[in-house]
Every structure is written in C-alpha cells, then in structure tokens.
C-alpha cells in the first residue's frame, strides 16, 4: 500500500492504493488518524484500492467514529466496485459517508 495526502482548506484528501489487509492497517491508521486528531475533515479516496478485508473495514469504521468524536467528517470517495461490495456486505453503506 502506498499513499498520498493533499491539502485544501480545512480538508485533507488521503489517496490509498493497493490491497488493504491486516498487514497494512497500521500504516493506514498512521496516515488518517493524525489528520482527524488535528481537526481536519478527511476525504479518503479509495479509487485505487482493489481489495479490502475486514481489517480494512475496521479502519474505515474507526476513522469514521473518531471523526464524529472530534467533530470533523470522514468522507469515503470513489470506492471501487470490489471494495463497495465488501462495505455493503458489512451493511455499512448507510453508516459511512460514501461519495
């Protein structure tokens, strides 16, 4: 997994790519959590993430809940078809902010 972060106003956009599994979740958290802790709204662009397992889904839930606690917003953008299927299997499409 690699990532890129861009900044625009009070929002940061994190671009993740590759396959997000148990081995990659700590890396993803290390990028996302400090931005939320700093009070930023975070756009998480998943257009180049082809695979995500339950560990990756846990990162989405944890990030979403952390943003709610901090009064910011996590928006998950451009989800690939394969990852959307997993999000829907977890019945999270109405819980997470998907765009």
């Amino acid at each position: 997994m690699t990532y890129k972060v861009t900044e625009e106003g009070d929002a940061s956009t994190v671009f993740l790519d590759g396959e997000i599994d148990m081995d990659k979740t700590e890396g993803a958290k290390e990028v996302i959590f400090p931005l939320i802790d700093a009070g930023k709204n975070v756009n998480l662009n998943l257009s180049n993430v082809q695979y995500m397992d339950s560990s990756g889904i846990s990162v989405l839930i944890e990030s979403h809940q952390k943003a709610l606690e901090k009064g910011t917003k996590l928006i998950i953008k451009d989800v690939s078809k394969s990852v959307l299927k997993v999000i829907m299997m977890a019945k999270l499409e109405q819980i997470l902010n998907l765009e």
Partner: protein
Amino acid sequence: MSTEVADTTNLSEKKDFLVNSSSLKDVRSFSREVFEKFKINEELREELVLAIAEAAQNIVKHAYKDYPDTQDRMAVRISCTDKELEISFFDKGKPVEKSKVKHRAIDDVKPGGLGTFFIQEIMDSIKFKEGDKPWINNLVLTKKL
C-alpha cells in the same frame, strides 16, 4: 510448497504459508491462481478469496495470538468438483474453541468482529475439525457451485 492433483472431475491444490500477516497476500495470490485454473467465475472468485483470506487471518490473529514470531506454517487446500468447492485450512496453533467463534452483532457498529461474518455470508458451510497429526486445527469451508 504446492501440490496438485487433477483429473477431469476433481481438482485439488494445496500450499503452505508461514503463519504471519505478511503471508496473507500470498494466500490471496495462491487462491486467485487456483480459481482461475478451476475456471470459477470472476465475481464469485473475489468473494471466495475474501473468505479464504479471512480464515487465514483468523489463524494468525487467534490460533497464534500469543506467538506473533512463530515459524510454524499453515496449509490451505482448495478442492473442486463440478458441484462443490471445498476449502480446508490446517494449522498447529491453539485449538479452536468452537463456542467462542462468533461474529459481532452486525448492527452494533464497531471495529472488529467481521471476518467470521464475511465467511458465513460467502460460504455455505463452516466446520471445525481436529486436525490429523501433525495438525491441530482443520477448518473446512464448502460452497455449492
């Protein structure tokens, strides 16, 4: 190490992996290669890969919870007839306590507890067996084709 047994009606492939989270990508690669060879349709293939990866992850996370630096190996065997797919996992970790294997309530949204739910959603049956020596655990997942 990978072994293959094939005839016209029954295909089977088995491979072993180091019990470590870094092996999960190799488990997925192996599974994708086998399903391509078995001509499983692409949509079902990715669901099955997820179920297999979740089961392998459970071995790393639970059966070897106290042994993160283990050098033990786990094995995955994928067998296919024209009617059914059987996926077996073998490990030498802590014996599975069947009563403790459950997913979280799906409407209780919190991190964790989804791997077993995904396996149940994707597969038709899940059976925990005692493994034949040298294995301790043998998980068998099946899916009708």
